[in-house]
Each structure stands twice: as structure tokens, then as C-alpha cells.
Symmetry: C2
Subunit: 124 residues, 2 copies
């Protein structure tokens, strides 16, 4: 594991999650970023099992988790309760928050700095 924190991306849509992963990795090459989108059968929605897998697959134990819409947050909260990892669910702008977090983790910023920079991106 290269960094203390990881980023998990949870979208309602498979392609959105993959696309955001690519964007975040542009600024966070050595940071563990995992993602999931859609339901178990690939529809629009969220899946407990897929989110849990994204959390487990992440190399970090301290996770910044970002989501697109409210119902993905509810599933994330359930995962968060069941997981042994420390998951912080961020009510930030999905794209901008995840990109910012990835870049700040990549450049080895402290948690306080990361949280401070994410604060203006809280919109939900």
C-alpha cells in the first residue's frame, strides 16, 4: 500500500464510475482508487455487494467514499456499517470531490488538509 487513504467511487451507472475512475487516476496514479456503478445486473442503481467489493478491493483501510445520488449513499451507509474499514462518506460534488481527494492523497497531504479542501465541495 503506497498511501494511507484510498478513494471509493459509487455511481448509479457503470460507465460513469469507470469514467470517473479514469479521471481521478490522472491526478492520483499511486493512490488506490476503486469504483462500482449500477445494480448487480448492470442496470441503473446501486448494489450492496458491488460496493462492498469496491471497498474490500481498495488497498487502503481508510476510505474516502463518494457517491452520485442519495440512494447510492444509503447503500454505502449499509456497507460502511458492515465493513471493518474506516469509511468516510463524503457529501461532496461527486466528480470534483473525488478528483480533489485523489490529488490530495496522491501528494501525501494530512487528513486535516484533505478534509479542509473538500469542505467547499459539500453540496448535499
Amino acid at each position: 500500500m503506497t498511501k494511507s487513504f484510498g478513494v471509493v467511487l459509487v455511481s448509479h451507472v457503470e460507465e460513469l464510475a469507470l469514467g470517473l475512475y479514469k479521471l481521478v487516476k490522472e491526478g492520483a496514479a499511486d493512490t488506490s482508487v476503486t469504483y462500482t456503478g449500477g445494480t448487480d445486473d448492470g442496470g441503473v442503481g446501486s448494489s450492496f455487494d458491488k460496493i462492498m467489493k469496491a471497498v474490500n478491493d481498495n488497498e487502503a483501510d481508510n476510505i474516502y467514499a463518494f457517491y452520485d445520488l442519495g440512494s447510492a449513499k444509503m447503500t454505502l451507509e449499509m456497507v460502511s456499517e458492515m465493513s471493518d474499514k474506516n469509511i468516510e462518506i463524503m457529501d461532496c460534488a461527486f466528480i470534483e470531490g473525488a478528483y480533489t481527494a485523489g490529488a490530495l492523497i496522491q501528494s501525501d497531504n494530512k487528513k486535516e488538509v484533505i478534509d479542509e479542501q473538500l469542505k467547499p465541495l459539500i453540496i448535499k
Copy 2:
């Protein structure tokens, strides 16, 4: 054309644009939503020609345009200057702003209402 306003999505990443299109359409079935992502050769970045095509392909003449990161905005601004359409570039959270705009256009809200609802989502 069923609605007075359309939504244009501009991302740095092809899959992100497609995924967001799918999400926005969930709440905006009869609203014209067009999208583009990445450079002309499919890399991460933005393309004047692809953005211009997304604007032209949109059925509406009044466009709410959303983007992910700053350099996509710069390309959007160039397109906006060259286009005959009325393009409003929104400095909103990309996902949340586009989804909200789509849903509000879909339910035939007036421009003032749409703008008012998008205001709290301005983060850049």
C-alpha cells in the same frame, strides 16, 4: 423539439460523459441531452469539434452546458463564442448540476426556477 432548453455534458473522459448521459436521462426522458468526452482520438481531455457537435446535435437552441474540469470549460467557452446557440456554461457540480437541470427542464420549469435551483450547486 419538446422542451425550450437542452443540456450539454462535456467531460474529459468518454465513459464519464456517456454514464452521466444515462443518469440524466433517467430524470429527463423528453429533454434533449447531448454529451461528449475526451479528445478527438479518445484520450483524456477535450475537443472543440466534439463539443461543437454535441451543441449542434442538441435539439434546443438554449443550452445549459456542464463540464467536469477547468480545461473543458475553456474549450466550451470557445465553442460558445462560435455557436449561434445560446449556451449558458454552468460552474456547477458536474453530476448533480446536470441531473438537477435535466429534471427541472423535464418538468417544464421556468428559467428563473432552474437557475435558482442550480445556484447552491455552483462550486467552481
